[in-house]
Symmetry: C2
Subunit: 80 residues, 2 copies
Amino acid sequence: MIKARVTVTLKNGVLDPQGKAIEGALGSLGFEGVHQVRQGKVFDLEVDGTDKAEAEAKLKAMCEKLLANTVIENYTIALD
Amino acid sequence: MIKARVTVTLKNGVLDPQGKAIEGALGSLGFEGVHQVRQGKVFDLEVDGTDKAEAEAKLKAMCEKLLANTVIENYTIALD
């Protein structure tokens, strides 16, 4: 069993209204000097097997097919 | 300017229907042997200043007040 964390973030240049809203909310709460807030997603999962290279290839396919929208998002895969 | 990444994940034992749905969808797409899918959030942001300890304290306050629901979520702060 291999534990993995997939992090999906918006590509540079893609507008992030959610991040902008969070930035505004932080300002309203009195947190000054916070910029460039961008929100992304993280997936923690467990993959059967012990071959890390195989697991990584499988996770990459999952990202391409389901977890990330590769037109506007980047993803990184970290194995435990 | 300090770059930071805040990762917010559900605490153990908190049900994650979204993660379950993703697990089901991965199964439908033919990805076998994937378990314990949990979805979380990631926030990338920039904080003014150069004092890392101060930035971390500020980020912790942001998490407690806005970014995480500490009843059901854990957060980790990573500074660049």
